[in-house]
């Protein structure tokens, strides 16, 4: 019975991989939010800069130049600090995204290799060979069974079909 549903197992694996791949950006965004330690600091800095700018606009440069200059320096310092913070956050997000992608591709490669290893010699399904003539050898690769559908051919077909379906749905 297991042999009869090989085609379904491969199809399910391919579908799962493609589904997870489409959800990767969301996963990496979620992980970066969870792992970000000082996310609130950025909002605090932004609000602080906004308040200081308001205060700066209320000060006359001619009458209170020293105070104006001091406040401006403070704003500049805070803005630089915010920029550094945003840069590090962006780099952190990119790093997490990269790690998540790498992990996914490794897992996907492992899954595909294990499927190919398992069904190297056995076809995923068998049909009468005259149905798929004259491409029976190509379709049966690498199993070599007459009329069989090889794992590579089925993987390619499933990948394409699942990609089309997910693309249409999304």
């Amino acid at each position: 019975m297991a042999a009869g549903y090989s085609w379904f197992l491969v199809l399910g694996s391919v579908f799962l991989c493609n589904l997870v791949k489409s959800l990767l950006p969301s996963v990496s965004t979620f992980l970066s939010k969870v792992l970000q330690k000082d996310a609130e600091q950025e909002t605090e800095m932004k609000s602080e800069i906004q308040e200081m700018r308001k205060e700066l606009s209320s000060i006359s440069m001619k009458d209170e130049f020293a105070r104006y200059a001091r406040l401006e320096r403070k704003i500049n310092k805070m803005t630089d600090k915010l920029k550094t913070h945003v840069k590090s956050r962006t780099a952190h997000q990119a790093k997490i995204k990269w790690i998540v992608n790498i992990i996914f591709y490794i897992l996907q490669a492992a899954l595909m290799i294990s499927l190919i290893w398992k069904y190297y010699a056995d076809p995923v399904t068998v049909v009468p060979s005259k149905w798929i003539a004259p491409l029976e050898r190509l379709v049966a690769f690498p199993s070599g069974v007459a009329g069989g559908v090889g794992i590579t051919c089925w993987l390619i077909v499933c990948n394409k079909v699942v990609a089309i379906i997910l693309h249409a749905v999304s």
């Binding site: 085609w7 379904f8 399904t125 049909v127 005259k130 149905w131 798929i132 003539a133 004259p134 491409l135 559908v149 089925w154 390619i156 077909v157 499933c158 394409k160 079909v161 089309i164 693309h167 249409a168």
Partner: protein
């Protein structure tokens, strides 16, 4: 040093256009003609110090000649070697020999070669003004060609950057237009029909080929969707390598059509196998 002095203003005036570059090239050419021997020794790096010191080098190392007509000026200028100017001068002075590569480059740098003026390198001129005039025209062509290609590369780069941001915002690289959807559905329906009625009599790929031929004829009855040619790294590289845009777009179009046929085949085969397995399952479960 005169070349160094030339370097500084040349670098500053880079943006003033080809006229300044031409003037500087002319000044440099006159200096070369007036003081060719001394200049040769300075560039080559031999002369007073190494005049008689390296006979083996003279015998083995080839003479070099740097050409401004090269289309890739930033590749190693000493890789092109022309013997005739140096052969003629070697007869005149015993000190002119091919230098080692780093020295020649240093020599070139010290003579004030700048990006705007002489991107190909310094031309060693030992002949009269006639040859010099011909050669200044070809360096100008080479400079202009290089500058135009550089502009093209920058434009393509900005185009790719803008398309990348647009793609990221839209997040859809290939839209399923009506004809594509029709093709896919038609392939699936045909696969089902073939599994039910036709597969016992002939190969399943024969109806598929007939279907594709029918699609080629039906294509004109569907609204044509203008597909914007995306500038990718591959297309940019092909454009910069000199392949005409028309050829590239036709190749991309052919490649896209082949992809459509492949997608149809995958859907057809998948539907066929799926329907076969369902029928086998229903057949096995039927009493």
């Amino acid at each position: 040093m005169e070349p160094v002095e030339d370097c500084a203003p040349a670098g500053a005036e880079e943006g003033s256009g080809p006229s300044a570059a031409q003037r500087r090239a002319e000044v440099r050419r006159r200096k070369l003609l007036m003081n060719s021997e001394e200049r040769m020794n300075r560039i080559v790096g031999y002369g007073k110090n190494d005049g008689d010191g390296s006979p083996a080098r003279r015998a083995v190392e080839p003479r070099f000649h740097l050409d401004l007509e090269r289309s890739e000026p930033w590749s190693s200028p000493v890789s092109t070697k022309r013997l005739s100017p140096f052969l003629s001068e070697a007869g005149e002075t015993a000190e002119r020999r091919g230098p080692p590569l780093p020295d020649s480059r240093d020599g070139l740098g010290s003579t004030g070669t700048t990006e705007g003026d002489l991107p190909g390198g310094v031309r060693q001129r030992a002949r009269g003004n006639v040859a010099g005039d011909e050669h200044t025209r070809s360096p100008r062509k080479g400079v202009q060609k290089y500058l135009s290609r550089f502009d093209d590369a920058l434009k393509l780069r900005s185009q790719m950057a803008s398309e990348k941001t647009a793609q990221e915002s839209s997040s859809d690289s290939e839209e399923l237009d009506s004809f594509r959807v029709f093709r896919l559905i038609g392939s699936a329906v045909l696969a089902l029909f073939v599994r039910l009625f036709v597969c016992k009599y002939l190969s399943i790929f024969a109806p598929f080929l007939t279907l594709e031929l029918a699609y080629m004829g039906l294509y004109k009855y569907f609204p044509k969707v203008e597909k914007k040619a995306k500038t990718t790294v591959l297309t940019a590289a092909l454009l910069l390598s000199g392949i005409p845009a028309e050829v590239i777009s036709r190749s991309m179009d052919t490649y896209r059509k082949m992809g459509d046929v492949f997608a149809d085949l995958c859907v057809y085969f998948f539907t066929f196998i799926l329907s076969h397995e369902v029928l086998v399952l229903l057949g096995s479960e039927a009493p």
